[in-house]
């Protein structure tokens, strides 16, 4: 019994929306609208209005743009084709694109136009408003945080710049650099190396400029002209790379050998080489060593007053192990410290040998023992 009651109830609930919808739509007439009916546009730009048509009953709607300002053109498109009429279905939106082209020399100001759709005995009108604005001329500006950078000859001079487009049009700019001969310039934007890059209207791009000096560059200031060009528009900036020298002291040995021998109780000498591979002279280089306790280390000369860039000098080090040193390998560290700049140190492995004196003493002792035997032979020998 229950089942018979349920079935009509379910059927009723399912059918209700189907019965109601067409009746509700059929009450409205032909409608024409767009989402944004008033728009601003820059001079020389086209403008697009997506139009939507609705109707209660199926009908053909003729479309026209009657009061177009002089010199303006308007085109209606449906599905990419130029159209004059559209068939409107009751339960479906019909989409039409209106494309308006203001003339090149349109004066800034407000313009009105209307779109009319004429259907089966009824019509709809849509009012549109277009405001043409004066456009800003394109211009580029280079901003530099730190236009003056100091660095060693082998370092990379890095300038952080910002290229701003103050105009209302997007620009693709070429980046150019004018540098002294031998110098090398790289432009980086967003981590990539670039030679040209687009800058959006009223936008900006940060560009990192990396400059490298050639080998053997002289010390001093070098100007670097950077240019960003896009057609007639250009921006320029002058950067300065200041090359300052610094001494770099290297301590080595003439033959590269970092080990030696030393006998207990005797002074061993080794030759070290101090080299300035930097770009400025090193002054007052003091030589020092960290030997184990009881050892003596002397340098000849103990200090170097001045060592020019690229120059080298040999230093003799005299080392005497402690008298109670145990034979074997030791590490002694030598270092050269200039007044300015980093010091250079060198680990030298020294094999300590014991004096052969005690070996000779041993042989003498054995000889004495042999002598005792000989003495016994001559004293107690029997015939």
């Amino acid at each position: 019994m229950r089942r018979f009651v349920l079935i009509p109830l379910v059927l009723f609930t399912l059918l209700t929306p189907l019965l109601l919808t067409p009746a509700a739509l059929a009450q409205g007439g032909l409608t024409l609208f767009t989402r944004f009916p008033a728009q601003q546009v820059a001079r020389g730009e086209d403008i697009n209005f997506p139009l939507i048509l609705r109707a209660g009953t199926s009908q053909i709607a003729r479309l026209s743009v009657p009061n177009l300002p002089e010199g303006w053109t308007a085109t209606l498109r449906g599905d990419g084709r130029v159209i004059e009429a559209a068939y409107v279905l009751p339960d479906e939106d019909t989409r039409v694109d209106l494309r308006v082209q203001p003339p090149e020399n349109a004066a800034p100001g407000e313009y009105r136009l209307s779109v009319v759709a004429e259907g089966n005995g009824e019509s709809a009108t849509l009012q549109l408003q277009i405001t043409v604005k004066e456009q800003l001329p394109p211009s580029l500006v280079f901003d530099v945080d730190l236009p003056n950078v100091r660095g060693a000859p082998d370092s990379t001079f890095r300038f952080n710049t910002t290229l701003r487009n103050e105009g209302d049009t997007d620009l693709t700019t070429n980046l150019l650099a004018e540098v002294p001969p031998g110098w090398f310039v790289r432009f980086r934007a967003a981590g990539q190396e670039v030679t040209s890059l687009p800058v959006r209207a009223n936008g900006s791009e940060s560009i990192s400029i990396e400059v490298e000096a050639p080998e053997g560059v002289e010390l001093g200031s070098f100007p670097i002209y950077i240019k960003a060009e896009s057609g007639d528009v250009r921006a320029e900036v002058t950067l300065t790379a200041e090359v300052v020298g610094q001494p770099q002291v290297n301590l080595t040995t003439p033959d590269g050998r970092l080990s030696g021998q030393a006998t207990i109780g005797q002074t061993a000498t080794y030759t070290l080489r101090v080299r300035n591979s930097g770009s400025a002279p090193a002054r007052n280089i003091t030589m020092s060593g960290t030997p184990p306790s009881g050892w003596t280390v002397e340098f000849q000369p103990a200090s170097i007053a001045e060592l020019g860039a690229g120059a080298e000098q040999e230093v003799t080090v005299s080392l005497r192990p402690a008298d109670k040193a145990v034979a074997g390998d030791y590490v002694v560290s030598f270092s050269a410290r200039p007044e300015e700049g980093r010091s250079s140190s060198l680990d030298f492995r020294i094999t300590v040998l014991t004096s052969t004196l005690w070996g000779i003493v041993g042989i003498v002792l054995i000889a004495i023992a042999v002598g005792v035997v000989g003495l016994a032979v001559s004293r107690f020998g029997r015939r």
């Binding site: 960290t290 030997p291 184990p292 306790s293 009881g294 402690a322 109670k324 040193a325 145990v326 034979a327 074997g328 390998d329 030791y330 590490v331 002694v332 492995r349 094999t351 040998l353 014991t354 052969t356 005690w358 070996g359 041993g362 042989i363 002792l365 054995i366 004495i368 023992a369 042999v370 005792v372 035997v373 016994a376 032979v377 107690f380 020998g381 029997r382 015939r383």
Partner: protein
């Protein structure tokens, strides 16, 4: 023990001065004695013992060395110094085996001839007592050297077979020095055994005396050295200097024992990373690269005083025996 010599007699002996070299006939004595030694049953027993120890220690050492992963510059030396429970290392065996072999070879050198009543017949030949004594000593020394060299070669050969690694030049040099050192160690005990054979008429007494000396140095001397050091250099306050002085005296006293001399010199030769056999203060190790091997010459220098001690001890014991033998009544 010596067979009769058949060389023609030299000229008539002078009353006070000796004619010719006292070493005439030395090499005849040496060769006859060696022939006796090498064909004796005593020698066979000694050889069996040594071969057993050599084979046993090498097999345990190689078994352990094979398990060790990693590089060792002186792998071949480890053959002689690696021990595995319950067997000591080969070097440890030699410390007490060499004295026993040496004493066994020499304990009846002189009194054996006297008891067999061959001494007077022997000296009726134109050989001086000098040549006889030195000849007997050299013969036993050569025999000992032969035995030790055989074991040495045996171990090297077994090691080559089992490890498959040939010894390097420095290892070979170190092992040769080790062989020389072992022979010098044996020579001390030979000289002692010979001294005992001169002192005591009964070979058994001589053997017992020599073995007692050996036992004394092996077991008791270390203890006595410790006690003596405590008495002579007592630690009153506990200063490091006092402790050091006592330890140094104990070491110096213990070095009177040939066993200690031999063990220390062996360590210096077969463990190249050993830098010092004495006490090392921390200040002496400042800047030292630990574990770096010493050059060969330095290792030899380290063990050289020990070697000198062993050689000089041999010579002095021999000289003492010589003097006693010269003054001995040998007519039976």
């Amino acid at each position: 023990m010596l067979a009769q010599r058949s060389t023609p007699a030299s000229g008539a002996a002078a009353a006070t001065r000796r004619e010719g070299s006292p070493w005439t006939g030395l090499w005849a004595v040496v060769s006859k004695e060696m022939a006796d030694y090498l064909s004796s049953t005593r020698m066979l027993i000694l050889e069996l013992i040594t071969v057993l120890t050599a084979a046993g220690t090498v097999f345990t050492a190689t078994a352990q060395l094979r398990e060790t992963v990693g590089q060792d510059r002186f792998l071949f030396l480890r053959l002689f110094t690696t021990s595995q429970e319950p067997l000591p290392a080969f070097v440890g065996f030699l410390v007490f085996l060499v004295p026993i072999i040496a004493i066994a070879l020499a304990f009846d050198a002189v009194n054996g001839e006297l008891n067999a009543r061959t001494m007077s017949r022997l000296l009726a030949q134109p050989i001086y007592r000098d040549a006889l004594l030195l000849g007997k000593f050299l013969a036993s020394l050569f025999t000992l050297a032969l035995v030790l060299t055989t074991i040495w070669l045996l171990i090297a050969g077994l090691g080559l077979l089992r490890l498959g690694v040939p010894p390097g030049g420095e290892e070979t040099a170190r092992l040769l020095w080790f062989l020389l050192l072992t022979i010098a160690y044996g020579a001390v005990w030979l000289a002692l055994g010979m001294l005992a054979s001169i002192l005591f008429r009964q070979p058994a007494t001589a053997a017992m005396a020599a073995l007692a000396t050996w036992l004394f140095f092996t077991v008791f001397w270390g203890i006595i050295a410790g006690i003596l050091a405590q008495i002579l250099r007592p630690v009153r306050i506990g200063l490091p200097a006092e402790l050091l002085a006592q330890a140094q005296l104990e070491q110096a006293l213990s070095r009177l024992s040939p066993n200690v001399l031999y063990t220390e010199a062996t360590i210096a030769l077969l463990r190249p990373e050993v830098r010092s056999l004495g006490f090392v203060l921390p200040s002496q190790l400042q800047g030292a690269i630990l574990g770096a091997p010493l050059p060969l010459g330095e290792s030899i220098m380290l063990g050289w005083p020990h070697m000198v001690g062993l050689i000089a001890g041999t010579l002095l014991l021999f000289a003492l025996g010589y003097v006693l033998f010269q003054r001995q009544e040998i007519r039976a």
